[in-house]
């Protein structure tokens, strides 16, 4: 088991007060706080090693290149990828999904092809496909979600066919915390010859994730949700698929050669090796350095411990909300074991934004609204929801305080 009190000592922000109350940060599904180790690594990079990476002979560039390449290796080991060739650094989950959507959509998908997307997806796994379907002419089929927020596997099995080229699914819902059976989905998808893109934004930071066990072709996730800095994220892709794929963006770093032919008066371009083929322009080197420290921190804590701790907090929060609050309704699965550390909820007669404002008054940060998942809220027939989401530094005492304030909100 992890010790959240010991862990809290590494997070300077948790010492601050908001509205004269100790900060209680329950908005971890949006972004996580950063440990001192990550902050120091970023500072040290700019103080000691800052330079542009690759194709320079000077010392600083070589140091920066080594740090940036090590970051890829560290992330690859963290998710059990075969090597750094399979880990492309991007800005975040959204860019990772856009990379796949544009690369596949512009080159490999055509009319009569189909892409399957579930109704529980974050907008970042819906909008790119809608945009590309208008350009490439492929069709999108949406998979239903049950009333408890779990995926409707019958709907998925009814939607898939030989026309399906890509199945897009969240590993964990950012609204309900539901953990989807990605292995089951991948097995069916592969039987039909389809690729599988997994949105791991809410799973990689909170669960042990092994891409080989998941059998995913692509896995997208963000550094900032797993203790790392903003502006750095990862697209894992199976090597053989990435080798066949066309680049997403063009520019420096992603090419091996750009040769001008005086005969044709055009340039012929040879792509760089993986993963650089998909990393056009000067990359976020410092982001990679920060992400390395974040991954090292999580590995030290142990991802099984992270999972266990969040399960315990979720169980505690859900049981207290039921026991102490009369007007509070928890959305999604009612069993804590079916989900990660996310609790979406509402209070009868009070809007989610009022709930969030009231809690903020006491220094408690929760999110309100659609959480970038409007279709799922339409399934639930909700105008919006409030969402408490936990991480390694949260405690049962913080949940007790949260419950106290929820009881006050009920009086409104």
């Amino acid at each position: 088991m992890l010790d959240p009190y010991k862990i809290r000592e590494d997070f300077p922000i948790l010492e601050r007060k908001v509205n004269n109350n100790p900060l209680i940060y329950f908005d971890n599904a949006a972004t996580s706080q950063k440990p001192r180790q990550v902050i120091e690594a970023i500072k040290s990079f700019y103080e000691n090693h800052n330079a542009n990476v690759h194709r320079a002979v000077h010392t600083l560039s070589q140091e920066a290149s080594e740090l940036y390449e090590n970051a890829h290796e560290e992330v690859a080991r963290f998710i059990n990828a075969s090597g750094m060739e399979e880990t492309i650094f991007v800005r975040g989950t959204t860019e990772a999904i856009n990379l796949v959507a544009y690369s596949q959509g512009l080159h490999n998908l055509k009319e009569n092809d189909e892409v399957i997307v579930t109704l529980m997806e974050h907008h970042s796994n819906i909008v790119p496909w809608e945009i590309l379907s208008k350009i490439a002419g492929f069709n999108i089929k949406y998979v239903d979600v049950n009333n408890d927020g779990t995926i409707n596997y019958e709907s998925f099995e009814g939607a898939i066919s030989k026309k399906t080229k890509i199945v897009c699914v969240s590993h964990v819902s950012n609204v309900t915390g539901v953990v989807n059976d990605v292995r089951r989905i991948a097995k069916t998808a592969h039987e039909y010859g389809s690729l599988v893109l997994v949105d791991g934004a809410q799973s990689v930071p909170h669960l042990p994730v092994n891409v080989k066990d998941l059998d995913a072709d692509f896995l997208a996730f963000s550094g900032h949700k797993m203790l790392g800095p903003t502006g750095i994220g990862v697209l894992y892709g199976r090597r053989e698929i990435l080798e066949e794929m066309e680049p997403f963006q063009g520019g420096g770093e992603m090419i091996r050669a750009v040769e001008f032919s005086s005969k044709t008066r055009r340039c012929s371009i040879t792509w760089n090796d993986l993963p650089w083929k998909f990393e056009a322009g000067t990359p976020n080197v410092c982001g990679g350095v920060g992400l390395t420290e974040a991954v090292k921190y999580l590995k030290k804590v142990g991802m099984e411990n992270v999972k266990e701790h969040e399960e315990a907090l979720t169980k505690y929060a859900m049981s207290k909300m039921r026991e102490c609050c009369k007007k509070v309704k928890i959305y999604g699965p009612q069993t804590p074991t079916a989900k990660c550390g996310i609790v979406p909820f509402g209070v009868d007669g009070v809007s989610s934004h009022d709930i969030a404002l009231f809690l903020d008054n006491y220094g408690i940060m929760v999110r309100s609204g659609f959480h970038c998942a409007q279709p799922l809220h339409e399934v639930f027939r909700l105008n919006s929801s409030a969402r408490a989401s936990f991480y390694i530094y949260n405690t049962c005492e913080e949940i007790d305080r949260f419950i106290e304030i929820l009881k006050e909100i009920e009086q409104f």
Partner: protein, 89 residues
């Protein structure tokens, strides 16, 4: 500088079907803003002096001691500015 700019740090449209607007008052001026608003608007309900349910003309809104307010059913930003101008003057 207009009176709204004088007191308001920023406004934020809420995410959700409600389309409410959150007004965040400047930290150093929040208490003054709250006092001004409480003088002009009618307090329909208050909870522990933390949150006030208020009406002003045809508008209903909630004001929080933390220096934030949530306005409902506003047509647009101009309407919000007009209401805030009156409430803060």
């Amino acid at each position: 500088m207009g009176i709204v700019e004088d007191y308001v740090a920023r406004t934020e449209g809420t995410c959700g079907k409600e389309k409410d607007v959150i007004v965040i008052f400047k930290y150093e001026k929040k208490d003054e803003a709250i006092n001004r608003i409480l003088k002009r608007a009618k307090v329909e309900k208050s909870l522990a002096g933390i949150v006030f349910e208020l009406t002003f003309k045809n508008f209903s809104f909630r004001l929080y001691r933390s220096g934030k307010a949530i306005f409902r059913s506003l047509k647009n930003k101009d309407e919000l500015n007009a209401v805030l101008s009156e409430l803060l003057s």
